[in-house]
């Protein structure tokens, strides 16, 4: 908790926020809800948290009984799994996500998109589609990423789907080139594909069955279907 002193209220909203509303806590729970179980997978979804703090938050959540540590293998590895109470937080996380999608002006967040975090999100929604060859490679060029991290590859190989930060060496099926923020805006449903193509600096090349409706295999955020409300009504951050 932010402070050692409690809110002193028996109201369930007060008790819930006292447990949940410390920095990073709900993002860690979001990661666990979306299926991550290892320390480093959680970090991929919450890249700016320090290891020290993640470790401490996980301990807090364990002692509150929101998650339990399950030993895996014999090497001290363990998996973090939500308890039933933790799973119950899906409604809270969904409500926060829906509200944010509708009301928050995202301009600030779009100014500093982290490529690792963007790709980790893409990885979560990409899916094999029926007319895809056994091996399928999409190559991303993020024109505004740090010079050594502009190119990334999404590799479908049989059952496996991997994000590669170095050229896997296979023939490329689809080329995508855009700014980090444009890819984020598309994935979040904040701009349409047609507007990105027209004036968003977004280019996509490859066979028509994969570039006409790229979201078919790329997927989108679970909130992409919820439209943002008009700019003048939005909440601003910072």
């Amino acid at each position: 908790m932010t402070s050692v002193k409690s809110y002193g209220q028996f109201c369930p909203v007060a008790m819930s926020t006292e447990l949940l509303c410390s920095r990073w806590t709900l993002l860690i729970i979001r990661e666990l809800l979306s299926g991550s179980t290892s320390f480093n997978d959680i970090r991929r979804g919450v890249p700016l948290i320090s290891r020290t703090l993640l470790s401490s938050r996980l301990k807090e959540l364990e002692s509150a009984r929101l998650l339990r540590r399950v030993p895996v293998g014999s090497s001290g590895r363990c998996a973090y799994r939500l308890t039933a109470a933790g799973e119950g937080l899906e409604s809270v996380v969904n409500a926060l996500g829906e509200w944010g999608q509708e009301w928050i002006e995202p301009e600030l967040a779009l100014g500093e998109v982290n490529y690792g975090y963007l790709l980790w999100n893409l990885r979560r929604t990409v899916r094999r589609v029926s007319d895809m060859p056994r091996r399928f490679v999409a190559r991303f060029e993020f024109t505004d990423a740090p010079i050594d991290n502009r190119h990334h590859w999404l590799l479908f190989d049989g059952e496996d789907i991997d994000i590669c930060h170095a050229d896997p060496g296979f023939e490329v099926n689809v080329w995508i080139e855009c700014r980090l923020r444009t890819m984020a805006e598309l994935w979040m449903g904040w701009i349409s594909l047609s507007s990105a193509l027209e004036d968003g600096g977004f280019t996509i090349d490859g066979p028509p069955e994969f570039i006409k409706q790229p979201f078919r295999w790329l997927g989108q955020s679970r909130h992409a279907g919820t439209p943002k409300l008009p700019r003048e009504a939005r909440v601003v951050m910072g």
Copy 2:
């Protein structure tokens, strides 16, 4: 915010928590959602916040456009009213409340019930019922409250309903005597009236039409209908 650095994520959950999950913020919003508009009414619902911090939180919420300050009268008074975006947070506050009601072990919070806060909550749900005389007085004796604050009166007088901390002098219709935590547990729906009467040290006296089903005029928390889950599955605070 707890820290000056942002989460660096375009995820709506991350943006929402960044705006909302600082200490007290969601409780202030809960108060505004439940109808308080003045500085001191908000404080009655959030009694442990300092004036300094409440003032600063209100400014943050205003600059984020979650609320606006509306001048009232000519004396510099103003009312705090949620914007449409702020009203939209009802779903978030409800989700937090429902989850807390189901999953949190409230024992810790029941150890330190604040009488002012308890009565402020009661005041919000009491209602005149049809067979009530024009003037109706209920007297509360909280056996474990600080010695000078044991007795309180709930006064229905025509259209007005007031909580009095000093004897208003009228004839009393209903007498209630119990511990602060018992009143809180009843109002929250955590114990039943019959168990409170049997072994909760709760006594109520007066005409049968007002003491058989006291919640008819006392009301209960909006979450009282949601049952708590079994103790062994609950989340613990502190």
